[in-house]
Amino acid sequence: MNDQFLHALRREPPPQFARELKRRLDRQARQRVRASIARTILGMVLIGGIAMAALLLRERPERSGVAASVTHTVARSPFAPSVPSAASSNANSVEVPQNSTPSQPEATESVGGDIPVAFITSPLPRPLAQALVGRLTQYGYFAQPRLTSMEDDEALRTLCAGNTDFVMVSRSIAREERALCDKWGIGIMEWKLGYQAVVLAAGPAAKPLSLTPRDVFLALAERIPDPARPQRLIDNPNVTWHDVDARFDDREIEVANSASIVAFLQLAVEPGCESFPWIRSLKSTDRPRYEDICRRLRTDDRYRSFDLDLVRYWLRSEASRIVVLDYQAYAAKSATRELPLAQRLPVTMLDGPAPTLATMTDGTYPAARPVYVYAQRSHLDWNRAARKLADDLTDPDAVGPEGYLVRLGLVPVALRESRQP
């Protein structure tokens, strides 16, 4: 017996045993990887849960009159969003002005570490959106919401990409856009708040004109297509309505606007501007040029802004004058129990039926747009601020007869439950 003899006693493990053991070890390694992934996911879920719980605890209301900080904004143009705040990540995002809401709810709770609501609005309903998110701020215990301006198309795309909590737009979501939401697994809620409308009215002694939006554009735009060469723009030469169209008499163009300039432009001027196909095509190909043509009004005395209180006097002095009013101002009774303007100014100058909720609903009144709000359904489940804002959309304080949105020009539809489109 020696080393060589003893070493010779060794033998290889049975191949079948070696293969089987190797298979088991490989399987064990794969199971460990899967278990590791599962543990990681579980850990993330736990951390997320703890974070949510912490947020909810921080939300716990505390009696205080402290309200969120206020950022006052300066409008640069009728359609430009307010100056972006430093805290905003988006160039178009702005802090909501505290004073944008007509009536202030009682601020009973202090600002908490809530998740801020992201709210996108198109330019036309922006005052309504500002009031809504401003109201949310004034409750005092929600984080400062982020309000961003976008056109309807972009706003709805952003919603379906899951990048915002709410959007407020001037049309309902299209089937293709809804399909996009479904594709990305974004469940949405829809509220139809009502309509925004402007009315072009004249004094009782005036003769109706039956203006089309195209007539309004040709009468009030700073530059209009040259009748001789429609692809060329010229300074607006029209002085009388007869200059605009031969079917009108030669009364002078004099229009005073007491509604929001954005509403007047979007509801009465832009549709007329877009009646020129080459200008309409600029909307998608050269947006700045489109806005330069369709949103720039003449600066002579043919068009002016006007205080609502002076309308009656202004119309009395010259029967041919036209005034632009938002529908609610036109329809509402004044505080002095005078007759509503709708009764004192019975002559509406736009072609088509008289402005009523019925003609807005059936789409026959031309200077009206619906107001829709869409929200990500799942966000309402876990974001308390978003849920509160959703509740406000059907709150009589907002959309009731004396609601703060109604006072901003909203023509509310009958209150109804939100629904899934």
Binding site: F5, L6, R10, Q28, A29, R32
Partner: protein
């Protein structure tokens, strides 16, 4: 042998070793662990069972293996040693290697038969040895480790390992 172990040790930089590295370790150490246990245990079934148990423990704990604390061979044989000791303690009436002759072995070539009979005879001789000497014999001639590799496993110096092994083999030879 020492060079081979050194190569094996270099390839044992486990955390950075991928699946291929573990495959190489498995191929290198499976016969060693298997033969180490073969010189410590009575039956083939136990040898395979404890070999599997050793590798499963090592594979399950490989993420926790720290190269700065011990070489891989040291770490792996500690696991094998502990697995073996736990098993032997649990077998009250075990007789190491004594029952090797009764293994219901599969039909093997003639050389295997001779080897089995030599192994049985060796088992009979080592059964009277102290635990430390039997461990050294298993590590040296079963696992095929060098004296240097054995030393840290049993807590002796390399020269002591050589001396004890020399005396043990001399004693076995005299009784063969």
């Amino acid at each position: 042998m020492a060079a081979k172990e050194a190569v094996a040790e270099r390839s044992l930089n486990l955390p950075s070793t991928g699946a291929a590295g573990w495959d190489a370790l498995y191929a290198d150490h499976l016969p060693r662990i298997y033969n180490y246990l073969r010189l410590r245990l009575a039956t083939e079934a136990d040898v395979e069972d404890l070999t599997a148990r050793t590798f499963e423990k090592a594979w399950a704990a490989r993420a926790r293996y720290r190269r700065d604390l011990a070489g891989f061979t040291t770490w792996l044989y500690r696991i094998a040693h502990n697995v073996c000791i736990d098993y032997l303690r649990s077998q009250r009436a075990h007789v190491p290697l004594d029952a090797a002759a009764q293994i219901a072995a599969e039909p093997t070539p003639e050389t295997d038969e001779e080897r089995h009979s030599d192994l049985t005879r060796l088992a009979a001789l080592t059964s009277s040895l102290p635990d430390r000497e039997r461990e050294l014999i298993a590590l040296k001639y079963g696992a095929g480790l060098s004296n240097r590799a054995i030393a840290p496993l049993v807590g002796l110096s390399e020269s002591n390992v050589g001396t004890i092994l020399h005396r043990t083999v001399q004693a076995l030879r005299s009784q063969w």
